[in-house]
Symmetry: C2
Subunit: 327 residues, 2 copies
């Protein structure tokens, strides 16, 4: 690659510190940490041409998306962010300035999310990719929230609004040119796709409040609620009329001649949180989330049985087919 | 990809268990573990066309190399193997049988190295790659061995023998056709390249024996001892005549018209362990390693100063330039 691995590691080592938990970060065979309580670990990767394009994203935006998608899984376990480890797959012809901008962005973004970039690796690769390992922590005596605790009679809820990331991608790809949108709405949709925000504060605020199942909306609400239904051995119904859809998404769906539910529930990448809870807990949980600036909406119910069923205006709605905009 | 991610995850989930430390493995947003003592974490990746080729390696061999190179970093911290997390980057046209063979191999190989495949992710990618996160553990009250503790007056030692992986690669690439080697020696060199063995037992046997610095030989002995010298702020001298070179490596070096030290010390990928220790500790440490079937050789000394110096027959030897056999 254009920039020596030793030079890059030395630069990162100087910028990142150790701390109470990270005893030894970048620069040895492995990082050394002293975790307390329980540890939550997730791995993810973003790949050029699949999850991002250098034509529409700069180094910082690519780093942002890579870290955010991994950190979102920590939010979805109700964990505190801890350590990040990044593997950079770099084509031989990569501009050293790009690599340095990426390294600086990784360090800064990690710190902004209260995480430490504790290790990494660079490898040659024909395709640019970033593999991210995100490690979170649950303090001693507290519990993570998994996908497996939903029970019949509970409510199904989702944070924020959906469809923005999918609509943003269609805009960036130039496929939604016919949509008439105010500049601020365009910008919000585009940011939703390029620089998603992991709901870390919201996720950790959910610990200890009796939320029975929790997942982040990465693949699309239908698919992600399917994971909760399967893991919890329950059925889930969702009323599409109650699903909060981001402003501008309907116009984009119309411009590309697709049904709104396909875009709002099928495109994914919104990184909102979907959860289940007993009805009597709704007010308290919604209040805790509101303190983090996050709105919670009731969108459905947990029933006995299996699978996810969608309705709209009381009529069954086909499951969104997803958006085959990615190879 | 050819095989659905849910199907693959379900298959892996059925095959892998949880345990005392892994409370929740594959199948939720993240794995949930309850580590004790200190945690050691490393990330690594192998990429098609750079670290392996499907023409010369099957799914199991690729999985083997990916896990082994990451686990070797745990050995180099003197840690016990714990959890493995794998990100599979899969081209759209990947044969489902290949993916399944890869998944089965990952589970089996992890178990064979006393590790648990606790999580993973599949992503679409134009280039096949495996990202591996290896997590190891140091029991309460014991210490990891880092790169930073070498002191002037100590010995420099290396396990096993070097150069085999580099010679094996030249053979596999058909560039060493002129080397006259017995079939058993060819086979040993080839295995050294395709299915390296992480020295996990040897690594953990080194805990508590006063080894001052430890690293695995992945980039080539010269480069790797350079990491110890820099991190420990010392100089290191190595007498090439004392370096154990694997049988057949000299013949391959001769067949490709290169100096033996370039191949033995520059090609890397042997995954032996290099270490420093006070002279009076040598016998005890060598004995502990012998109990794991690993031979330890004294090859040099730690001095004040900086950098690594090689000698052969008392004369200075240029640092091996490495082998540019990989893009």
């Amino acid at each position: 690659m254009g920039l020596g691995e030793i030079e890059l590691i030395e630069r990162l080592r100087r910028q990142t510190g150790t701390g109470d938990r990270v005893l030894l970060g970048i620069g040895d065979d492995a990082a050394l940490t002293a975790p307390q309580g329980r540890t939550v670990t997730t791995v993810d990767a973003v790949v050029e041409g699949i999850h991002f394009d250098r034509a529409s994203s700069d180094a910082r935006q690519i780093a942002h998306k890579a870290l955010a998608t991994a950190l979102s899984d920590l939010a979805a376990m109700a964990a505190d962010p801890g350590e990040l480890y990044v593997t950079l797959g770099l084509p031989a012809k990569t501009d050293p300035d790009f690599t340095l901008a990426m390294a600086d962005a990784l360090v800064e973004l990690a710190a902004g999310w209260n995480a430490v970039l504790a290790g990494g690796d660079t490898v040659g690769s024909p395709t640019l990719f970033l593999g991210v390992t995100a490690v979170g922590h649950i303090p001693q005596g507290e519990e993570a929230v998994t996908r497996g605790g939903a029970r019949p009679g509970e409510l199904v809820c989702v944070t924020g609004s959906l469809g923005g990331a999918g609509a943003g991608l269609l805009m960036i790809q130039g496929r939604a040119a016919g949509a008439r949108l105010a500049p601020g709405i365009r910008e919000a949709l585009s940011s939703r796709q390029l620089t998603p925000q992991p709901l870390l504060e919201a996720g950790r605020a959910l610990r200890g409040l009796g939320v029975s199942a929790l997942i982040d909306v990465s693949d699309g609400l239908g698919t992600d609620l399917g994971h909760i239904a399967r893991t919890s051995s329950v059925a889930i119904t969702v009323d599409f009329d109650r699903v909060p859809v981001q402003e501008g998404v309907a116009e984009v769906a119309s411009a590309v001649d697709r049904h709104l539910p396909d875009l709002a529930l099928g495109a994914g990448e919104d990184y909102e949180l979907a959860l289940t809870l007993a009805p009597e807990r709704f007010e308290k949980v919604a209040g805790a989330l509101e303190s983090c600036g996050t709105k919670l909406s009731r969108i459905g119910e947990v029933l006995t049985g299996e699978g996810v069923r969608l309705t709209r205006g009381g009529e069954p709605l086909p499951m969104p087919r997803g958006f085959e905009h990615r190879s």
